[in-house]
């Protein structure tokens, strides 16, 4: 069975502390101003009838990734487990992928190439969790293989109410927000 990596993000557990952001930045040596993941706090209603959702967001590693289709050099590609990656040696920094991404998941690295979340594939290949998942104090993040019915991510997506962001794009994103 072909692997299909995905992540479940539990918006009820998450407190939006940004530990995922800092762990990602140090794990992946991101430059100042470069983010592969970030926190969104969304408040609705009027005082005092308010509700709030907190999300740790990152690349959705879409099954139909427009960024890969938009990339003129083949730098953006689909790697093992459906992970959308950028081969920096092939990237010219043209930003076509940035324009095509509905989630704002990419940025231009100071060294001229486009950078984004890799699901820490370098760690996953060694049997480790992505850095954000490993550090998350609230255990809001669950990474795993959607193709494996026994995986924790599949169990969560099947047992909990969830949503993807911007389903209307038809990109089939692989980040599932548990609500």
């Amino acid at each position: 069975m072909k692997k299909r990596y995905a992540m479940a993000v539990d918006t009820r557990r998450c407190v939006g502390c940004s530990a995922c952001v800092i762990a990602c930045k140090t794990e992946n040596r991101l430059p100042s101003g470069g983010f592969r993941d970030w926190i969104v706090q969304e408040t609705t209603g009027r005082f005092p009838g308010l509700s709030m959702e907190i999300r740790s967001e990152r690349c959705n590693h879409c099954s139909d990734a427009p960024c890969v289709a938009a990339c003129p050099t083949g730098a953006s590609h689909v790697a093992e487990g459906g992970v959308v990656m950028v081969n920096r040696a092939k990237c010219t920094g043209c930003k076509a992928c940035i324009a095509s991404c509905a989630y704002g998941a990419r940025y231009v690295h100071a060294d001229g190439y486009v950078d984004k979340c890799t699901f820490c594939l370098h760690r996953v290949q060694q049997g480790k969790q992505p850095a954000c998942v490993e550090t998350c104090p609230t255990r809001s993040l669950t990474f795993g293989d959607l193709a494996d019915p026994e995986s924790a991510v599949v169990k969560l997506v099947h047992s909990r109410r969830n949503k993807v962001l911007k389903p209307e794009t038809g990109n089939r994103p692989n980040l599932f927000f548990l609500t």
Binding site: S18, F35, K90, P137
Partner: protein, 741 residues
């Protein structure tokens, strides 16, 4: 065909993208003939050093990854019971402290008038001699007790020892009278002992968690936040009392947006409902508590309808939430809070919370408050202090604050004013606490400093307090030093070790070395017989029959889990004189205070002003981390939260993102700061995360960013029971930033 198309595109693109792309482009790598590599950023350490964190005072276990002599990243130590393998952003961002370009690099001696912030770099010998002379001169004229130590942080242990053998009891930490002190007094009066840190609470097994002004989740005490999330995962419900729609409020079943300063009224109304409707644990109280009848009489008539106009919380909401809290007892945890110095009646509020916990029967029960234990450790065999020492001079000459069980940092500052206390403070040693921000009323702190004979600051960064010092000693960060062993009370007793991951940078030195050399400089060398912190710790471990090598490898050694609650066979930990929970406090009555908490309306501010509230962001530990450029990335500066309707109604309406100045009732100003115009706060208060608005020249990143809560805290209200400085008693106006430039 495809390749040719791409080549064309790259040639076109290269004209704009730069020549380098063409130069390096025509290689096999460029064309991907060697495939798409999965690049490893290479941050996994060649060496991994187990230690514990100092970005806040929770002291989580960490693993520092070291590669080519640099710390590349820091991860949680899975064996450590406080981090359980996970870190908050601050812990993960500690490399931002280690590699902060603004660190203090060499010892400094003041070269012009005090406070002008002009210093000369000197050798350690010269600096230590200067400190020795300064302290000995004060000792000769005024006695050793005229030296005060202000300290915050684990490394302070070495300087506390210095003070003991030097002969002064005047050791104060702002973490008491400016933070958790009222809570400690309130719970001590009720149950017999302070809660301490980490708090012995069982969040993970609670079914209902009630937060009163505690913004856990933004206040990022790692283990507590982990347990909070686990509890939510298991279906626990939250009740949140906060003028602000905090992150926790966003997850709550009930949010009670209480008017600031009226929490006691709400607590009395809750107790009224629980007592009137007999929802309390009668059997538990009969067995463990005294004063139930007095309490019943005291809250009679304090109905939700009574509390409504005082608190602004609808009576149905008060009644319903009271029933909800009671229904989950005893696994109904009223979180005791931590930063509790709000309005000067704080011990009484803490008492009300402690009494509520007793009504729920949660003290000593699973999902409530637990018994904890510490790992027994042998001390280092060393010659202790000799001679008698005058009592601490942290209180006014005529006395006061009878229930304080730690020295008041604010009191030591007061004692610097001639004639205030039994004797005057003449010299300060300030370790790791920026008193300009950590004490209220900075104008008074500065005045006290001006009257000192001598001030030495020991710190990692050039905070404001360093600018006022006569000598500044640069300490190595916790990642560059060994320290004493940590063995706090916990559900599973444990011992953790701090060990240097890398050598100290610049000419900074570890605290143990500074304290030892200081001891030598004042003729007390014999009290510092250890070679270094490593030998100190190993001697203690050997005498405690613990394996030092294993501890060094793992970072932590766990003891046996103890019985923590009644369900595990432990009786409720009540250590009052009578052995009973004091619902009614005869001790307070004897001291002339209310034996049961009463509501006193808070003072109102001038018309058009907002009560200034302050709190925490998960990425920061007040002013200590605001210069950390890594942590600044997700949270670059604080914002002033203001209610959307209130912002619109201002004489000059404020829009989200506008820059404003904050001006308090005494004309003190802070900012410019960005306004966060939001539904998430009441209209009668504004909110700032504490620790911003630095003015110190050396803080290259933080200086001038955001607004300082301290600068706006020109007033404070002292808790008469224990001396805590209630700081939520200042009121501010908002002015457009341009006008006040």
């Amino acid at each position: 065909m495809d390749a040719i198309t791409r080549r064309k595109f790259i040639q076109i693109g290269a004209a704009g993208a730069g020549v380098a792309a063409v130069g390096s482009g025509l290689t096999t790598r460029w064309w991907g003939l060697d495939g798409d590599p999965v690049e490893d950023p290479g941050t996994e350490g060649d060496r991994v050093v187990a230690t514990f964190c100092e970005l806040c005072f929770w002291n989580c276990g960490q693993l520092a990854h070291v590669k080519d002599g640099r710390v590349t990243k820091i991860t949680g130590n899975p064996d450590h019971p406080l981090s359980r393998g996970r870190l908050c952003p601050r812990g993960a961002g500690a490399t931002g402290l280690l590699y902060d370009p603004d660190r203090l690099k060499r010892p400094l001696v003041r070269a012009s008038k005090r406070g002008e912030d002009v210093f000369q770099e000197v050798s350690w010998d010269a600096a230590l001699n200067k400190v020795g002379e300064g302290l000995l001169r004060v000792k000769a004229r005024h006695g050793p007790e005229a030296v005060a130590l202000f300290t915050h942080g684990f490394g302070g242990s070495w300087f506390k020892w210095f003070m003991k053998v030097w002969g002064s009891p005047n050791i104060g930490a702002p973490s008491y009278a400016q933070c958790r002190g009222p809570r400690e007094a309130g719970y001590t009066l009720t149950y017999g002992a302070p809660l301490g840190s980490p708090e012995p609470i069982d969040l993970e097994n609670a079914r209902v968690i009630t937060l009163i002004g505690s913004h856990l989740g933004e206040n990022m005490h790692n283990t507590q936040v982990q347990e909070l999330a686990d509890a939510i995962g298991k279906g626990a419900q939250l009740v949140v009392v906060d003028p602000r729609f905090s992150v926790a409020a966003g997850k709550a079943r009930y949010w009670l947006p209480v008017k600031p300063g009226t929490d006691v009224a709400l607590l009395l109304a809750w107790m009224n409902v629980i007592l009137e409707e007999k929802r309390y644990d009668a059997e538990y109280l009969a067995k463990h508590a005294t004063g139930l009848e007095e309490l019943k009489a005291h809250v009679a008539g304090k109905t939700p309808e009574w509390a409504w106009p005082l608190t602004g919380v609808r009576p149905e909401l008060i009644r319903e939430s009271a029933r909800f809290i009671a229904a989950a007892r005893p696994a109904s945890l009223v979180h005791p809070g931590r930063h509790t110095t709000w309005t000067g009646d704080d011990t009484q509020r803490a008492r009300a919370m402690a009494i509520l916990a007793a009504l729920l029967g949660s003290w000593g029960r699973r999902g409530g408050f637990l018994s904890t234990g510490a790992m027994p450790l042998a001390g280092y065999p060393v010659k202790g202090p000799s001679g008698t020492v005058r009592p601490a001079a942290d209180k006014p000459k005529q006395g006061g604050f009878p229930v304080a069980d730690e020295v008041l940092a604010s009191g030591l500052c007061d004692a610097t004013k001639p004639g205030f206390a039994m004797y005057d403070m003449k010299a300060w040693i300030v370790y790791g606490t920026n008193l300009i921000q950590s004490l209220p009323a900075p104008q008074e702190t500065v005045k006290a400093i001006q009257g000192l004979d001598f001030l030495v600051a020991i710190d990692v960064l050039p905070a404001e307090i360093c600018g006022w010092a006569d000598v500044v000693l640069p300490e190595a960060t916790y990642l560059e030093r060994d320290d004493d062993l940590a063995a706090p009370r916990w559900k599973t007793p444990f011992v953790a070790i701090r060990q240097a991951a890398v050598e100290p940078m610049y000419d900074s030195r570890p605290g143990w070395w500074i304290a030892k050399e200081l001891g030598k400089a004042v003729g007390l060398g014999e009290h510092f017989p250890w070679r270094d912190a490593r030998e100190f710790v190993e001697t203690r471990l050997r005498a405690s029959n613990l394996d030092a090598a294993e501890l060094r490898r793992k970072g932590v050694l766990a003891g046996k889990r103890i019985a923590t609650c009644e369900e595990e066979g432990a009786p409720p930990p009540i250590s009052t004189e009578s052995g009973k929970i004091q619902l009614h406090s005869a001790e307070l009555a004897k001291l002339g205070f209310d034996p049961l908490p009463s509501f006193y309306p808070p003072e109102e501010g001038p018309p058009g002003s907002f009560r200034l509230l302050m709190g925490r962001a998960p990425t920061h530990t007040f002013g200590r981390t605001t210069n950390n450029r890594l942590l600044a990335e997700p949270y670059p500066e604080n914002e002033v939260w203001i209610n959307a309707d209130a912002a619109r109604a201002l004489p000059t309406p404020v829009k989200d993102g506008d820059r404003v100045m904050l001006v308090n009732q005494d004309g003190a100003r802070s900012g410019p700061v960005r306004a966060k115009v939001t539904e998430r706060i009441r209209g009668d208060c504004v909110y700032l995360v504490h620790g911003w608005g630095h003015t110190a020249r050396g803080l290259g990143y933080a200086r001038g960013r955001g607004a300082s809560t301290s600068a706006l805290t020109t007033r404070y209200k002292v808790d008469p029971i224990m001396g805590g400085t209630g700081m939520n008693v200042n009121f501010v106006r908002l002015e457009p930033a341009e006008r006040s430039a």
